[in-house]
Symmetry: C2
Subunit: 691 residues, 2 copies
């Protein structure tokens, strides 16, 4: 966990690897930030109890997860808690509030007076901290959150042969920990690097964190509480995986053992500023050292973190080892610089990566070609999963076609990890091998107007991992790789041991990736992409694929908004023209590239085109477009609460205006449309002839 | 005047010159914006009258300036007015409010109840519009503003042989027109280019423009009003150049002809959106076309504008003619692209240049090496005057040393204008000639720790001309050139005919620059710099000179703030370390440059260093540092009201905290210190080795 002795040991491990004289990088070092974290008090564990009318404790929530292997008994296992939940004592009638979204509380409040209640919610639907933020206006005194077996376990609930250690499913006492904050980066130093002397806002001014106590619990305890709830039955789509009806409350059934009882929360979390480190390592570029490809993964976990983040860390260490060795042997050096980063304190809110981008904002903005993120490398064994700006689609496809997907662990393990790039892989005799691309195409695909049936590259619109600051704050072209389970076979929200004490090497090696073939598929593919981006003469970024996404977004926006916008006399034509301009500029640049014999061009002509490609995403930044969203500046990829696959600022403003009907809100729609239009026009301007 | 038929004729002139097949540029075109302007109504002229108790008009302010030459009788001469003053009628007792600063009104309000009064103010001390903005909270009903002869005419007041057409001094009826807004760029489209369909804020939401009517008048009329004022004598430093005591009012002396009379204002200004054009012309760079040197001057004037802006326009046209001819003849093409710009609607608030930077924000940020501004090229004949970021000091000195200052008009006129660069100038026999540098050094100098006695390069901290958006919004290294009068011989605020109907060719050629030698000095020097910046292999920008200024600012900040900051436990050490880091990084980059044989280096290594130099100012941008100052993002050069030659955000925050004593304000000081420190550290990071 961030800033613990264990964290420091992994810092030392990273430094040792990256400073290794035979397989290390050119240089490696640590960078420290003094960051605002939140911990439970080991001497006063958080307690959640059912307290009878006479004050006697009728039930106490389990304080630690049940041990099945020695790892759960490690004294370093942190008690489940909600980071940034305030300390405090709350007592009241229990209510069931579904996922704790604003509409959930609104609905519940129609039936139940929420003042002074304790709300139990299930994970999903709303951000962790939002479940408490949304509750507070109704006077809710405290919130519990648990993982419903329907959402994570495909109905499996028994540890007698069903859940881990018998399968990948979450045991009944498993609890998802997490950060319950609403923005990324250090909470006390918004837009500034959290150095020792940096100005810090008063802690009471931090927004987006729970104003009332909140505590995560296991479904074993949630079952006991929910199935005893009194009151009306919750709506059908609020029902979960327990074999009882989920009632709304308030309070427990008179027929239950908890009749007339309250739920009491005693939370002892405390906040503290602690030093957290990023570990950085570089390979200096041979021709364009002032162009960076950054490859990052976080280092901190909640408990053992075999999958989150160590699956990604193992991939990164293998990539850096292989590339480092080539460099140390003098066999290879990339054209551009590669920066590896082992981010600290990601679990508390992407803190290490966000502080890094704040400290080196200008340098990174000017020089970074792309950011590659591999956090949880493997969720499951089915298929590669990748997300990123549309301009990286092509290079990912190229890499994924070149990397073979091994079926036999022993054969694969014997093959050197060269990402299929230096020495094209040939399937060993007798071994069936398909490409990562073909396999991906089978699991997740879409039809592109230009390219036909292709794998579906995800969009990065949120802040789920360390790519957030690069995408949203810096406007750097980014991608995220992992290996996924088959979602047609499991509806689990994520791999079931996520953020619990069961995310161990035993769990990972037996249930997530036996033989580590999926780790290899991710390493080979991400590594192949890394080398292509760092070492190609021409940057393998495709602006026409970007145009296709803008066109799709536009089509969606037209079908959703055109009619009402016309009625409001807000013209969409400028946006249509801007998207058409972008397409035409992208086609033009593609023609320039196609018509150039780049190897024989002057270095500055190639650099000129590369700069156009590198800086394309920067053109979509507007630091004033989303004043209410911390560090969101990219007008195409900002998160949106409207839930439409289209331009986020327009979608959110439209949803607000449609809901309120106020002319001021329609003006905001027009404003967002102008911001968007001028961004796209400005981006198109960077792709046409440079003068 | 912007958007008039005359403006269109000059648009056509610029296009014709820049599209000339023999002396034009590679390409020239116009770019239109629909901008929010303000005009007086020709059919209902603004009136200011003294109205007696029975309603009879005892005095009427002159509606147009007195004609001395035919130019003043041109029907196109716009009536003196305050652009963006609201229309309206105001009537009340006259008071004298000095320069209309906040402290002036505060002082005056101690003696006089200002509610319902008309305040007469003199130009200077506060921005034009601020004189009304500051007045409104006291209930002042209307404001007059005039140019006091003490401030512009060195005491000269009579047109019987003293003022123009007998000298450069302002005739009694001369009135300075101007824009009375508080921010630059189109007022309805903040941060967006004012295209036809762009979202516009409601006009009533525009801030920083006069909330009450304001009208400029000549000192001839001001004399009649002020010398009849009743009440206590104004403080000594409020007294001006009239041969009477300036009393505060309210109202007129019972002994005067205006006894018991009010001043009435009838203002008929109206606002209108009109199309305004920038004219753009480019010379494409031969080696780095994607690097721009932008050279700009505005095109619009208030009346004839022989000096403002035509002195600058003539310089620009001569530069573009000479360079264009070399290009058309195939004799020369600069390494980098040159963009010439003839900005529209500058007089209304730098609108053309600001809209341009908003429309092409990303492209310009990424590619612009420097912006060169020559607005009023010649204020007088004494000396070159230049301002800019410290990094341009060296190239300006180099140019100024190479350009000779001619004493004999006829000899100079015969010499081809090659800026002293292509063919070094040799003084013609029998003609005394000193360099522009030597002459400058005599008039304005300072002692640099590194360089000894050198001419004083000004800082660009405000928004006085079209450099504003480049400096403050884009963080582009900029410079501004003009030729100045001898301030030891005249205390005039500016050249006396500024913004009046007397700024004519006759005035310019007889009193400002007989023989146009000063125009030539500016053209040769600015042209020399332009060629050096556009055509040098290594960009002639010096980061160590930047370090010197940061050190001077730091020294000032320490002496002013250190003691009190220590008492407030706000550490200055991080700032000191940051400035030291910057110095060390600058020295490092200078050593790298000095140790390189750049001509024999790879093109990409030279480009790398050039990018470090080009982007240095970008590192000082922070779009969130000055939320209350429109488009000010450069943390070193932002305007400051604290009036100290040091870091502006720190200075303003400190002044506020010291005045209020509130802990919240001291927190803002600490915040500004962190913003500043991290900007300087970030800038230093861009100057060290690129990886």
């Amino acid at each position: 966990m961030a800033t613990t002795a264990g964290d420091e040991r992994t810092v030392q491990l990273m430094l040792k690897r990256w400073q290794d004289p035979e397989t290390g990088l050119d240089r490696a070092w640590r960078e420290e930030y003094l960051v605002y974290l939140s911990f439970p008090d080991p001497k006063k564990p958080n307690k959640v109890t059912v307290v009878g009318p006479s004050g006697d404790v009728l039930h106490a929530i389990r304080e630690k997860e049940k041990p099945y292997t020695a790892e759960q008994e490690d004294p370093e296992v942190v008690q489940p808690y909600a980071a940034y939940s305030p300390a405090g004592h709350a007592k009241g009638k229990l209510v069931y509030a579904n996922q704790g979204t604003p509409s959930d509380y609104e609905r519940l409040n129609q039936t139940v007076d929420l003042a002074g209640t304790i709300a139990i919610t299930r994970y999903g639907g709303a951000g962790r901290g939002a479940k408490a933020v949304n509750a507070a206006p109704y006077g809710v005194a405290g919130v519990l959150v648990y993982t419903d077996p329907r959402d994570i376990n495909d109905g499996v609930t028994s540890d007698a042969g069903e859940t881990y250690p018998h399968s990948w499913y979450l045991p009944p006492s498993g609890v998802e920990r997490g950060s319950f904050n609403g923005q990324f980066g250090d909470l006390l130093t918004p837009y500034l690097a959290a150095k020792e002397d940096t100005y810090r806002i008063p802690a009471e001014n931090v927004t987006g964190i729970p104003p009332i106590p909140i505590q995560p619990i296991g479904y074993e305890d949630a079952y006991v509480l929910i199935c005893a709830l009194d009151g009306d039955a919750a709506p059908q789509n609020w029902q979960g995986g327990f074999n009882c009806t989920y009632n709304l409350g308030p309070g427990f059934k008179p027929t239950s053992a908890f009749s007339a009882s309250d739920v009491q929360m005693d939370i002892f979390n405390y906040e503290e500023k602690r030093n957290s480190s990023n570990v950085m390592g570089v390979i200096r570029g041979s021709v364009e050292p002032d162009r960076y490809v950054i490859y990052g993964n976080h280092r901190d976990s909640w408990v053992h973190g075999a999958i989150d983040p160590s699956s990604g860390t193992s991939v990164m260490l293998e990539l850096s080892r292989v590339l480092g060795r080539l460099v140390k042997q003098g066999k290879w050096r990339p054209r551009r610089s590669i920066i590896f980063s082992s981010w600290g304190a990601e679990e508390f809110g992407l803190i290490g990566s966000a502080e890094y981008t704040e400290q080196y904002f200008t340098k990174l903005s000017e020089r970074t070609v792309a950011y590659i993120n591999v956090d949880i490398a493997v969720f499951g064994g089915a298929t590669l999963s990748a997300a990123g700006m549309p301009s990286v689609q092509n290079v990912i496809f190229t890499a994924a076609k070149q990397v073979n997907r091994h079926k036999a662990p022993h054969a694969a393990a014997a093959e050197p990890l060269t990402f299929g790039l230096f020495a094209p892989q040939v399937a060993a005799p007798g071994r069936v091998s398909t490409s990562v691309y073909e396999n991906w195409l089978r699991f997740s695909n879409r039809t592109s107007p230009a390219l036909g049936l292709i794998p579906r590259l995800g969009h990065i619109t949120g802040a789920g991992s360390d790519y957030a600051a690069f995408v949203h704050y810096l406007g750097i072209t980014a991608m995220d790789f992992s290996h996924a389970y088959d979602r047609t076979k499991s509806s689990a929200r994520t791999y079931p041991a996520y953020h619990t004490a069961y995310d161990t090497f035993d769990y990972a090696s037996r249930f997530i990736d036996p033989g580590f073939l999926s780790h290899q598929a991710v390493a080979r593919t991400a590594g192949n992409v890394l080398i292509r981006v760092a070492d190609s003469l021409l940057l393998p970024l495709n602006c026409s694929d970007y145009a296709e996404t803008l066109e799709q977004y536009l089509t969606t926006a037209e079908s959703l908004y055109q009619e009402q916008l016309s009625a409001q006399k807000i013209p969409m034509e400028p946006l249509k023209r801007a998207v058409a301009n972008f397409r035409s500029a992208a086609s033009h640049l593609d023609r320039v590239i196609g018509a150039s014999d780049l190897k024989n061009e002057t270095p500055l002509k190639v650099r000129r085109i590369n700069d156009q490609l590198m800086l394309l995403d920067r053109a979509f930044l507007n630091p004033l477009a989303f004043p209410e969203k911390y560090a969101y500046r990219h007008v195409i990829w900002a998160s949106s609460s409207a839930g439409q696959p289209t331009f986020p600022g327009l979608a959110d403003a439209y949803a607000q205006a449609e809901s309120s009907g106020q002319s001021r809100d329609w003006e905001r729609v027009h404003y967002q449309l102008s911001v968007l239009t001028q961004s796209i026009d400005g981006a198109a301007q960077t792709l046409v002839d440079v003068i």
